[in-house]
Symmetry: C2
Subunit: 222 residues, 2 copies
């Protein structure tokens, strides 16, 4: 241990061990405490106790880093959806629970949510985020399929030609997702302030129940 060298973090060795994960954790912290504005590669490096150029080897540039953060966001969203969906005991409840989980996620992790849906900041063709976002979409698709009384898609079914299976219901999937996503996004970005805060839960329930009822009806002409 040569004393002449002053490492950024004298406790740690030159090789961090799991710097990649440490940087992702640091990024989480920065996003939570300072938001996307305070999110810089150098700040994350500082928190991880390494030099400013250390992240480059693991993520390339800031786009690569954000892509990874967004992919993690989709994984957490999927987990939250699965948890809420599993607790529902009927179709109305399931759709409401799905909406609630989605909206709650946006409010609990606003910066992650923003980044996940900012394709100009990401490499949205990267395999990891495509995979993660695809899984979220599969869960939402299945919620709609069940509303319509159709069988759900397993991950493997979805991977191998899910498009073919749900081509007939894609309209309803988009209707359902747009409803959920629009509500979450508008709420997150403070566009629903004309509704008193304590009415938001009731609003979510009523709106989602009405949507679900519609999804269970046969679509009309055209």
């Amino acid at each position: 241990m040569p004393a002449k060298r002053e490492l950024h973090n004298p406790k740690a060795s030159y090789h961090h061990g799991d710097l990649r994960q440490a940087l992702l954790d640091a990024g989480d912290g920065v996003l939570q405490e300072q938001g996307l504005k305070g999110f810089t590669l150098r700040e994350c490096a500082r928190r991880a106790g390494v030099s400013h150029a250390a992240p480059k080897h693991h993520f390339g540039d800031v786009t690569g880093f954000l892509t990874e953060i967004a992919a993690l966001g989709f994984m957490r969203l999927s987990a939250a959806l699965e948890l809420e969906i599993a607790g529902a005991t009927n179709l109305d409840e399931e759709f409401i629970a799905t909406t609630r989980a989605y909206v709650d996620f946006a409010e609990a992790h606003p910066e992650h949510f923003r980044i996940m849906f900012r394709c100009d900041l990401l490499d949205d063709q990267a395999p990891n985020i495509r995979q993660a976002a695809g899984e979220t979409f599969r869960l939402l698709t299945n919620v709609i399929l069940r509303q319509r009384g159709e069988p759900s898609l397993s991950a493997s079914e979805y991977a191998s030609g899910g498009e073919v299976i749900f081509v007939n219901v894609i309209h309803d999937i988009v209707i359902g997702w747009s409803h959920i996503h629009g509500l979450a996004h508008l709420k997150l970005e403070r566009q629903l302030t004309m509704v008193p805060e304590d009415m938001h839960e009731a609003l979510l329930v009523k709106a989602s129940r009405r949507l679900a009822t519609m999804l269970r009806q046969e679509a009309g002409n055209t």
Copy 2:
């Protein structure tokens, strides 16, 4: 005209005349050509032919500038909505046209749209943006009110206690707006790529028609 001074723009006088508008125009150009990433106060100043600190006097800081840009965005969105709504000849058409105008706006001005709904980048309590966003919301509210066969709100009616008037229909307003906004946002952020591009128009029409039909029905229990 002292020859020793080298102004940024020798053609213009020291006092620009309408630098505020020139900067806003420059900002428009930057957003269109380079997006939010290339949007910097200094770049806008360069385009307007003034020094890098000139914007400060007109907008304060970058947040103030973006707030102004966002307010303009809401005004343009309102104009687009009004135009499309005016062309509709029945309720189905009107709701579809509203959705189309909103979605088209997001695609035509993606960066404006992103900024308008990024409350962390803005001073969303500033009077100009509140006014502009309020007008957009009034137009959307009226679309929903007409679907329900209720009278529209004029700007003055909306300003003086519109909340009281539409408290009974706020659920449907949020349902309608969430649908429209969610569709626009998901499409803009490339989350609907599982639907072939040439089906997007038909998707929009079908989804909106179905939504409009629902809005015209009485809400069920709860």
